[in-house]
Symmetry: C3
Subunit: 145 residues, 3 copies
Amino acid sequence: MRTRLINEGPERTFALILDSGDEVVSALEDFAAHQQLEASRLTAIGAFMRCTLGYFDWEKKDYLRIPVDEQVEVLSLVGDITLDEGKPKLHAHVVVGRRDGSTRGGHLLEAHVRPTLEVLLTDSPAHLARAFDPESGLALIRPGA
Amino acid sequence: MRTRLINEGPERTFALILDSGDEVVSALEDFAAHQQLEASRLTAIGAFMRCTLGYFDWEKKDYLRIPVDEQVEVLSLVGDITLDEGKPKLHAHVVVGRRDGSTRGGHLLEAHVRPTLEVLLTDSPAHLARAFDPESGLALIRPGA
Amino acid sequence: MRTRLINEGPERTFALILDSGDEVVSALEDFAAHQQLEASRLTAIGAFMRCTLGYFDWEKKDYLRIPVDEQVEVLSLVGDITLDEGKPKLHAHVVVGRRDGSTRGGHLLEAHVRPTLEVLLTDSPAHLARAFDPESGLALIRPGA
């Protein structure tokens, strides 16, 4: 485990309210680029009209795509925004709820909002950067980078 | 997407520990009214003796009720408290875990705690208000309101 | 419900990045002991190579163990670190996602990371202590203690 104190003073918190048709990954990364966010964390609830989730296949070192082509409640969306090669990168995982109360979940690859997604984002005055990890093939956060 | 900086200074954080028999929605809204909370976010874990979840039916523009009549772990409860017609309104989604590890989830309509629910609530010195959205029939957060 | 304001000033936030093979409960409790954390809250996402979840059996007053012996996405890990008999105690619940997008969840008993777990932990300059609750047989947070 590697650790880093990323804040001990005031932080900024934003309410981001996404509307019908907004795509979550691009909307949040565009916001982060505009606001120059480099070490943010977020939670969200709301609903999607459809989304694509991912499961990281450890053998193939790639994400399997899991399409969810129905209106779902967003039960939890938890994630962070860090820097990957100098650009803001959203890493978020999501659990969605179906009509019968059953759930699906995975890495958030793409999601279209309907009618709302309520995101509470807290930004620390630090930066956290990702670096390529040869073992997994993923860009992982390196707190000291 | 509409965004608003809701805080850049110190915030208040409360630990709210609900006990057996407490009903979650009413307990949190009563607390918010008493403390005059107008832009809060919260996460919680614990357990329910029973709860009623909701799924928003986009065709009917109403919540289907999904009763969960068994003791369940509260795996995640994520939400916010904002103002709706001047009164504090809890909007929370929950994932619960059953005896076999399977899960159910939805919009939190009602839940009775057993034996505990540990809520960590952070309040921003701002206010966020809801307004009626004609397309969905729901009261959605309008950050500029 | 019992409530307590645990902070109204600056707080410390840590990024804790766990690596392949790290065990989550021991890593977080060791960190908390080292940093003398007494009232922290955390969220995390990432992936486990395997984990053991728990469901509290209200009749037996004990946790049923639910082994998950496969690589899973950590969709949400929500919890707190408080004091139990003077030592830091992690209480966390987790939802994990399987290869087909289905989910499992429970009280976090043990989990081994692969390749990463990204924990954002916020510590309040207060302390929250647990006390034995005769009705459940569990150590529950007592905000006034």
